[in-house]
């Protein structure tokens, strides 16, 4: 029956994980998974109580209190922006725990382990140790404790290969010779490997690395499950191992990187994607835009010359339709000098059959931005440049602009940070509340539409 209860926990994990893949169900998914965890813990406790043996409950309770306390404290206190590194740290602890479970088995085993157990034990130790140290380095990089640029060990990737080989040999020796010491050596080498592998990876690639290490910690847990013969660990671990791997691949694809190129980067690799501007911007892609738009109540679209260049008038109409179908209020704000001729935007929007009733001019639009959730700025630049309001030295100072910075979020669709007709930089792009979606306008809107449909 214990096994069936564990199975129930596993099913809850599966359902929860599935929930986490869609914005609508994500929160519920997480809670379902947590419920699964609760079930598993209750089961093991009940099971142990049923064992009718003297058990070290004190240690368990102490661990639960200390660990639970630390975890809860960190999770509650953390700043929004620091969450990724916290996940990394948690992940390190998880990997460490699996290694410790295996270690306890080594320490506690008095007979010679069967080969299969020996193999899984060493895997659990090695993978757990890599996860532990690797995750902490990732944490350090994101937290700024460890330099986030690429730091290579002396000898570079060759050194890593040597350490890895060493760990394998030590583990192999441990398995065949049933030597605890060999296990510890393998574990130590793996711990070093975790450090030396993650150090050379640039900060920008950290999320992918953390996800990979997350997959590792799942595998470590599954291996620990084999060691102690517990199916809950096997199911949960295998699930996370596989899911984490897929997620890692997806994340790498979304960043336009291959996993190999991230892990085995040489000097000068990595993080190129971030180098467009000198000042940092919030970059967004079609999915981000889709979520921001799909969960808004009021969306205002600000077209500019780039819309015309990309001939994105039909795409913008299609996107607006999709939003309207979701009950979102969509209007268009047309700046008097948007485009390259008077009425440029009108020609295009009329071609796409956007109703005149939805077009707001400057005077109508500006009071509305503060009630707008998302402004979607499509290939406009000068006409939304707040320096016309704020910077007396600006050549366009005094020109009325669309005050898109009053809205909760501004999504700017353009191909780069290059300036518009007036040739001046636009402070809007560097605002906290601005998301920069770098792409050809037509492509961007089509992708966002597809992403909204997929939500």
């Amino acid at each position: 029956m214990t096994e069936l209860a564990y199975l129930a926990a596993g099913v809850l994990f599966i359902v929860g994980l599935k929930g986490l893949t869609s914005p609508r169900t994500a929160r519920r998914g997480n809670r379902i998974a947590a419920l699964g965890m609760l079930v598993a813990i209750v089961v093991v406790v009940v099971d142990l109580i049923g064992l009718d043996a003297r058990l070290a409950w004190g240690i368990v309770i102490a661990g639960v209190i200390v660990g639970g306390g630390i975890g809860a404290f960190l999770a509650i206190r953390v700043q929004m922006t620091d969450m990724p590194q916290l996940v990394a740290a948690f992940n390190g602890f998880g990997g460490g725990a699996s290694a410790l479970v295996a270690a306890a088995a080594v320490v506690g085993s008095h007979a010679v382990m069967p080969t299969e157990t020996a193999v899984t034990t060493s895997l659990s130790l090695v993978i757990g140790a890599i996860t532990l140290t690797g995750s902490f380095i990732a944490f350090g990089k994101l937290q700024g404790i460890v330099p986030s640029r690429q730091v290579f060990p002396p000898g570079g990737q060759t050194t890593n290969a040597v350490i890895a080989l060493g760990a394998v040999v030590a583990a192999g020796f441990g398995i065949f010779a049933d030597s605890a010491t060999a296990y510890w050596i393998a574990t130590g080498l793996a711990a070093i490997l975790g450090v030396t592998t993650v150090l050379p990876i640039g900060g920008a690639d950290m999320p992918v690395v953390i996800s990979l290490l997350n997959s590792f910690s799942g595998i470590a847990a599954a291996m620990a499950g084999f060691v102690i013969g517990n199916q809950a660990l096997i199911v949960g671990g295998a699930l996370v191992g596989a899911a984490g791997l897929i997620l890692t691949i997806e994340m790498a694809v979304a960043m336009n990187r291959s996993i190999a190129s991230i892990l085995f980067s040489q000097f000068g690799g990595g993080a190129t994607a971030e180098d467009i501007g000198t000042k940092p911007v919030n970059r967004a892609n079609a999915d981000d835009a889709a979520i921001a738009l799909a969960y808004a109540e009021r969306v205002m679209i600000v077209p500019g010359y780039g819309l015309a260049v990309a001939q994105a008038q039909h795409a913008v109409k299609d996107l607006a339709n999709a939003l309207e179908d979701r009950g979102i209020e969509v209007t268009y704000a047309i700046h008097p000098v948007a485009g390259r001729m008077p009425g440029h935007m009108n020609v295009l929007l009329a071609e796409a059959d956007v109703s005149y009733d939805l077009l707001l001019d400057l005077d109508q639009a500006n009071p509305k931005f503060s009630q707008t959730d998302v402004v979607l700025i499509v290939g406009a630049n000068d006409v939304v440049n707040p320096s016309a309001r704020t910077d007396e030295a600006s050549p366009i100072y005094g020109m009325p602009i669309l005050n898109v910075d009053d809205a909760r979020t501004a999504i700017v669709v353009k191909r780069s940070l290059s300036p518009g007709f007036a040739g001046i930089d636009n402070p809007l792009f560097y605002e906290d509340t601005t998301l920069m979606f770098f792409a050809d306008a037509k492509q961007a809107l089509e992708d966002a539409l597809a992403a909204i449909d997929a939500l």
Partner: protein, 97 residues
Amino acid sequence: MSAEFIAGIVVFVLAAFVGFEVIAKVPRTLHTPLMSGANAISGITIVGAVIAAATGTGVLAGILGFLAVTFAMINVIGGFLVTDRMLEMFKKIPGKR
């Protein structure tokens, strides 16, 4: 190989398949919460840690057990809580107000 071990492998493989299949195309904004949630699930090792801590004998086993439970517990509690926070915030789009 023991029957139990083989059964474990079967379970492992099937669970891994479920893991592969369950992750369809995930919107980018959910990458971090999903990673975080999956990470919390990997804290299932708490079960092993509890067993190790409760059944272990000797000081070394005790220490290892205690650390295992502590580590796993950090992962589990911290992991689910932080995921929940992320998702809560996620309802509001990043921005003012």
